[in-house]
Symmetry: D2
Subunit: 289 residues, 4 copies
């Protein structure tokens, strides 16, 4: 297929590489052009403007947040996009913006699909992402071959794009809660002279297996918060979005509020660029340790 791709961060770059490998033609655009170079070597066509990328059968966007997306995909860009194209937005954006984008695209005869992914860059490189897709079935059908080229599984969540965003935010809320809880548990244990490492071995060997408890738990046990797999600052962004999505349907999320406060405290202490696991440091500081 003939596609565009906007936003070549670590995730975006890995996804484009897999799309090229699968034989698709990909026009790529990035704010800072150097990031596009390695992909050009791999066969991508580097274009000069987002509008150049917004052509062909489909265009993917993978930008940092609402503001970054809105700056690129604004009304004047959408005005000139050829009808019928499917815009696949993979970024974790707010539910409100997702609703608005869906409306704006529909008004212009464009298709808007939300497809946030679960998985880190290494998973993206291996083409094993889990894709959480929301949007009209026909539009999803058209881009399914592209999803198949970059992920191992696509979940279709609902016919409204924002439903995929809600699911991604709920998943990240679960992650945030798990890390906060590990941090609080570590503070409790240290107060009684129990080794966090032992605790982790017990729980990950039993009721709480899996990469989240293993990975973040180890960083907390070692009080080592670098290198950051998932930055606290970005975790805070997602918790804010989850709270906003819940607010929009009048739903209290007390645990999300608690995590938000801890992340704010981390950022206030200059630790926003450290890993999400820095919640363990926050819990220890509160306990005077």
């Amino acid at each position: 297929m003939d596609i565009g791709f906007i936003g070549l961060g670590e995730m975006g770059g890995a996804i484009v590489a897999n799309l090229l490998k699968a034989g698709h033609r990909v026009r790529v655009w990035n704010r800072t052009a150097e990031r596009a170079r390695p992909l050009a070597d791999a066969g991508a066509e580097v274009v000069a403007t987002p509008a150049d990328a917004f052509a062909g059968d489909a265009v993917f966007s993978m930008l940092a947040d609402d503001a970054a997306l809105r700056e690129v995909v604004d009304a004047s860009l959408l005005e000139h996009v050829p009808r019928g194209i499917v815009h696949v937005n993979m970024a974790t954006i707010s539910v409100a913006l997702a609703e608005q984008l869906a409306r704006e695209h529909a008004e212009r005869g464009l298709h808007y699909v939300a497809a946030p992914v679960l998985g880190r860059p290494d998973v993206a490189k291996a083409a094993k992402l889990t894709i959480v897709a929301g949007g009209p079935a026909e539009a999803l059908d058209r881009v399914q071959p592209l999803f198949d080229a970059i992920g191992q599984k696509t979940w279709r969540i609902g016919s409204l794009p924002q439903q995929a965003n809600v699911m991604k935010l709920a998943a990240n809320f679960m992650l945030a809660s798990a890390v906060e809880t590990l941090g609080e548990a570590a503070a409790l244990l240290s107060g009684h002279g129990v080794a966090m490492r032992d605790f982790l071995d017990v729980v990950t060997g039993g009721p709480f297996p899996g990469p989240v408890y293993q990975g973040y738990g180890t960083m907390i046990a070692e009080q080592r918060y670098e290198p950051a797999m998932f930055k606290a600052r970005l975790g805070l962004k997602d918790v804010r979005l989850a709270l906003a999505a819940a607010d929009a349907v009048s739903t209290p999320l007390p645990v999300a509020s608690a995590v938000r406060d801890s992340l704010l405290e981390a950022v206030a202490h200059g630790d926003g660029e450290l890993d999400f696991a820095v919640l363990g440091k926050v819990a220890l500081r509160r306990a005077g340790r």
Copy 2:
């Protein structure tokens, strides 16, 4: 070995059966004597008083809570226990009581060991419990053969019995947080018309595998809170104990406080005997659904 066992609930009964199978002599006592009968058929000696059980090499106790334990194991009982015996307390009790019991036993030349377990009755029946043991190494060494007869793995947490209690409470706090978070996530998702079942499939197939998310998540998705695997009322008891253990070392646990409030609300609405998963009902009620 020659041992006593006090408290023949579902867990206690399963454990005694395995001790008998392993060839140990077991004197059993329970407040309501009928519960002892099937064990008598399996070879246990039913005794008339707790003091009768408190003899031989070691005695296990597995009672509901601090009050139940204190009623049976009081000063007058300990006064008459032969020196040198190892008392293995498997119940989830408060850190404060564990400390006090350790002191009282030591003063009388008795050994006190805390050995709370992870695992439900079916795991106990299969002799596959995970045992979290705290106490002096010599005392633990003496009862290790008994642990081997009932569990698949013994973790030695520290030389102070209460450290094992802290670890068990921290594990149950993690459970409580996970269930509360699932409940809040379910309320968020339902507000946007996303199926909790789909969400569960995505997260348990990815970052959150394991029995906790699978089991409680399914009950929450189905809004079915019976039969109770782990009653909300007992969950509340454990969260209270975790908060008290944290308070004793001046450690805030904001997520535990949030879960406590939700469990109190469940109990206030008459749902204390339902499963812990009833936290999903609380989250939905708050959202007016």
Copy 3:
């Protein structure tokens, strides 16, 4: 002076009446024109567009929220406003919008002043408002005579307009916390059969005098949440703004988060149009009463 006034709600109407009484010339505009009629009888000039009002020495705006303000005071309006005019915004808006408006005005040679007020419509009618003003001293000096005509006291908070907004939001946060706390206390007392009315008499006669505890406390004691002096829905708006202002400076406000959850629950149960005191109903419901 020659002034404009945009937004003739209950507060705006009372303020305009006092400005007229003090001898100022006032051009008024409101989205629904009928609200302007009584003021026309009192001497105001009713104009057809916001731009007509934005002329003379100064213009006041008193609109419901960020969105309402932004819809009226947009870039195209500001483009045509004569240089030198002082825009006095009395609405409780977000800190972020206040910062942006200050910038936009400065770029066009206009003066922007924030002047949120403390006091209900009856206080406004009596020209006894407390005015919390932020902005450059020269601009404040120019509109001080207008403040004197409508309030009993003007506090100058700082040279940045948004500082006045932060102070107003902090004051409303204190109000929100006080009402939530009264509600929780009422639930605690009722659980033990103690009359909330007695409690109120004790505390308002002692450590907690003043209209807030007296007024909201009485509504909670009587479980009567109408007529609404301050609607729960609007209270929620202000708590959200306080949380956002705190978030912008990485400051956790755990009590504000707790109140927000309670207000969301009130709205979720269809009680958003009731008085803020409905937080008492939320606390009682959680306690199953």
Copy 4:
């Protein structure tokens, strides 16, 4: 009347002085006898044991907490107290202990009355305490002349002594919430460069008059937490008791939980002996300031 008084702290001493002034005969006892000396000079009879004080028409107790009270007023003491005496307990104790004491007294033909007071030592000296009394009307009638000698107003809360304790705890919860809220507001304001002193002037001059906001607010504004009027450690004790009283009737108090966490953090940082206003320091620390 012929009365005993147990516990001669600052409050107890001031109260005894007023009882003597009013012409009553007072036998006093204190753990550390020196504290009794000045009262002996004023006419009190210093006795050697609590049992000596527990005689005559009535006995007051004013001890630090549950443990201190239980150590003095135990079963063996009550066994020998002459029937018919009224025991007036002025300390802020747990609802659970108040219930138990009421039961134990009744079983022995003794009267138990709870009479916690509102007011600091200077108020006690001026005989202007507010007394919150709970217990059977006949018992309260008998000691009313004594209340009249030490306070300006007695509120009869209910026929169950613990109801007076609940009311006192609810009042202290309100205090705790007000101080925490002031602290959070101070952190929000400082983040935006607004002076806490200005804020205090605005709110205490308007919606929040009274000694609590004035007194604690000033300490927070000055970041001065000594001398302690009300120690953080004792504030924490009372918040714990309020949470326990609420738990007993399945009532969530989310704001109390938030304050508890902040107080724990203060104690963890070695600030438990500072004034309650140290909650402002906690809020600032979380915000990295």
